[in-house]
Symmetry: C2
Subunit: 279 residues, 2 copies
């Protein structure tokens, strides 16, 4: 299996991919999410790993939009506990640290650390593992990065402060995504799937449209595990609704989707797969 | 009126505050959203201006969380068209530009520009106006920033490329927030309010809980304009639901909230105010 991820070796997406596929899978790094989707389209990789939701920092809206725009299919999901390490070249020099680089979501997740160390400046970087690489290559002794233990090791850095994320139960949910093929939906019936992700828009000027769209799921005893409305680019006040559902009976899901189509202007099924747990 | 915003003069939050309050209002700048909430608590400012949702880059989840955690009340909302300018010290040197600094949300909103100029590197900065200030203070001729026309002017920069955002209808919704006082809810009845924002959590292990929570609004002909589920930090699979509602009859809103409380484990009203439009 050749899979793509955003970042560098040791990035959380890299760790999620290794956990999902097996340690022997080949992981290829890409600079941003858009490049990942392009690589999938060109079949340079068979699957891509995408962070979609973090317990502290919220959803990665860019990836929702890319799932909507591209012809892809969610193969599965995986949860990863996120433990951030403050790392630098030398273990002894915490008092000298003036600047800390990391991805903005990781910086957001370590707010208490920055509150307790007001003289240390937080600076944004495209990815946690890339910030570790930057610190490893720099001669500046006053800089540090926030990243995973694995990223720290892969760039030969030392941990100055361990597990500095605000919440000890910090986790990220990743999606594993492949190119959409004809029959993907029908095939998921055979594989014991119990979770589905979809996006839809409501018929304009119909009052109570959102409730109407959710009733088919309640009637079929299908549980909504998350919902998010996103404005449609260029259309003021029109929204797309992204929902995740858990079901036990595939036929009931099929029937609920038929009902959903009657009360919406557009429905796209992003994937039907097996739900994961944190541990 | 003394109001706080995140960023520097010319930041979109600054422009939103000036538009909401009047040009004579005093605007104080703060480095991050948390500092804004602290200033409000200490009464260093009477109100704060918060970006909450952008048509391209999604919701500012950090601000949702801060609204939930602090004793505050939404006074009003304002929409601002977002037009990004590529700016530098000299008007003539676009071909020399190698690095462009801006806030990650602004960089996300200018993806086509970076696709068309693959040799230019996008680098993250805490705020659009702060990136303009950084470019203005630097001697490096190969750097540029992405910010508003007003930020560019306030730091004496020149526009190299105009309106480089991907979508010409790019807009951001801002909330104007004050300290919560006793009777804020009742008072909003008198002021002709027609929009409300609230956050609630569902009773655990009750199936169809989300639909049950939305039915009181449908029964009262109250329209949901946005909904977002956010994981509760530290509690796996438990969510908070943030909703925005539009109503015409305050008494019907009161009754719907009574019904909502019966089917939820927690409800917090974030504010009742007058809805705004883009123009």
């Amino acid at each position: 299996m050749k899979a793509g991820y955003q970042g560098k070796i040791g990035a959380y997406s890299f760790l999620a991919g290794k956990k999902y596929f097996s340690k022997n899978s080949e992981m290829l790094d890409f600079k941003d999410f858009q490049s990942l989707f392009k690589a999938l389209e060109k079949e340079a990789v068979e699957a891509i790993v995408l962070p979609i939701e973090n317990s502290l920092a919220g959803t990665v809206t860019e990836n929702y939009d890319l799932l909507f725009k591209n012809q892809v299919w969610i193969l599965g999901e995986i949860y990863l506990p996120i433990k951030h390490q403050l790392v630098a070249k030398n273990k002894s020099n915490f008092s000298e640290i003036k600047k800390v680089y990391s991805m903005y979501k990781a910086l957001e997740q370590c707010q208490s650390f920055f509150e307790n160390n007001p003289k240390i400046e937080a600076l944004e970087f495209s990815n946690t593992a890339a910030s570790a690489e930057f610190v490893a290559k720099s001669e500046d002794q006053s800089i540090a990065a926030i990243c995973s233990k694995e990223a720290s090791e892969s760039f030969g850095l030392k941990i100055l402060k361990k597990d500095i994320q605000d919440d000890k139960n910090n986790w990220t949910r990743f999606l594993v995504v492949k190119k959409e093929q004809i029959g993907s939906f029908e095939l998921s019936k055979e594989t014991g799937s119990n979770k589905a992700s979809l996006v839809y828009s409501l018929i304009q000027d119909v009052s109570g449209g959102l409730v109407k769209s959710l009733i088919p799921f309640e009637m079929a005893q299908i549980n909504l595990t998350s919902i998010e409305s996103r404005p449609i680019a260029g259309k003021f006040f029109e929204h797309l609704f992204y929902v995740d559902l858990e079901f036990t009976d595939f036929c009931k899901l099929e029937k609920a989707l038929v009902e959903l189509k009657k009360v919406t202007s557009f429905v796209k099924i992003l994937g039907v797969y097996s739900k994961a747990t944190l541990h």
